[in-house]
Amino acid sequence: MTNPENLNPNIPDSGEPSYKEKHIDAKESNREPAPEREVEQVLNYIEETSNQSVEAALETAKMIKESQLSSEQKKRLTEKLKKSLRNVFRALTFSVLLTVSVIVTSPYTYTRYSVDSKINERGAIEYTHQDKETTHVINVLAGKEKFTVADRENIYLDLLAAKLDEAHSNGRYLNIEAKKLPDMSIKKKMQIAEELSSSGDLEDRESVKASMIDPSPKVFDEDLYSALWKLEQECGNPKVRFMFEGKTQRYSASFERSFYSAKSNTIFIDVGSNEETTEDFIAELSHAKQFDENPISSLLLGARDNLQVQIKASSQGLSFDEVYDQTMYDQPGTIEYQAHQEIEPELKKKFLSYAPGTAERFDKERDKFVAEYNKLFNEKITKNEERRDYFNKKRALVSNNLEYEQLLQDEDNQRDKAQKDFDKKVSELKAKYGFI
């Protein structure tokens, strides 16, 4: 994860507050550091014990060798020594593994947050997350707070960061670092956006989408508010952040959709409609629940899955993401299967019982979409279709790319028709004159 404290943009600032200044996370800056010193002490202890074990074994082996015992007796005692040495090394390996788990999971264990609730003057329960941005994000999803100009600026920055990444991979704009965007002045950011627009890296439709999108419901949905906060608490109070088009400038890794980061116990949700964004939030909460209940085993499971995917991708010459998507979600025992096929249905059931009216509203929105999709593309998808495909198709529906593909298809059809007309004319001429 990007550490904003290490950034040094070296870009003249107009004096306007940066995103970081507006959204400074008090808890983040006061967070206790990971217990490196403790880990170092344990590793030293393991090394010392390991050295002592080897020395003691060598000494005993020497005693056996120099003794006046028969070769049979020597052989039996050497075997006994080997067995003891194996046992102590097993314990040493186990200790190293445990320590490694502590090292890897320490950022997670140090990002456990609390949620407070109080009764307001109207007699309703009001929830507050220890991380104020999370409180804001969940409140926006329920319509209790507005999706602000700062939120929009942030998702626009995500878009800029994604476009910069693409440009960097083509060797352009290498002097502008995406991770420095949050600290730049608005003027500087606008300059970059204009430059990216003029070079064609940033399409107008993307800017328009970023400026139009709103994940809030039309009015404050009290049931949704209560349901989201209940689920948030039942899944270990993860932090929540908005992001746009699967990219975020505040996280080093880039994914094509919403995701959960176990290291910072944070859910990054892709901003879409209220229904889409809520659906994504609930889906990613299942990972938060997984890591809240079993952080170490989930971590090891995830590492094993990644390794399997890496091996398969390398051997088949496919990309990591491609193999991951094809295999992990439908294969029982994987971290994704556990989250999305076992935990997520339970969370959805709970959501239905906490906010039946909202669930019905979402259902109607899906029905509307399915009808629209099937009509436009002459397909027969159902609203129960697998979530990722469903939303990918839904995004594709509103993007110009598919419309463009449709145009190309029309062009192809016209070309085919022109060819047929031409062939027909040739045949007619042949029939009339016998030759061409």
Partner: protein, 55 residues
Amino acid sequence: MKKENIQSILNQSFKKYLKELDEIKLEITESSVQQSSAIKDKKSFKNKDDQSRKS
């Protein structure tokens, strides 16, 4: 998992290991003692036998 827990798990295994090594060493010592006393007994028996022959 705290530092103390890992150290305690390792400590127990290491103590058990040292105990097992001590048992091996004890076995070597005991066997050596038995062997040396057997040799001593053999020698003293031989000496007695020699003396009786001389007499």
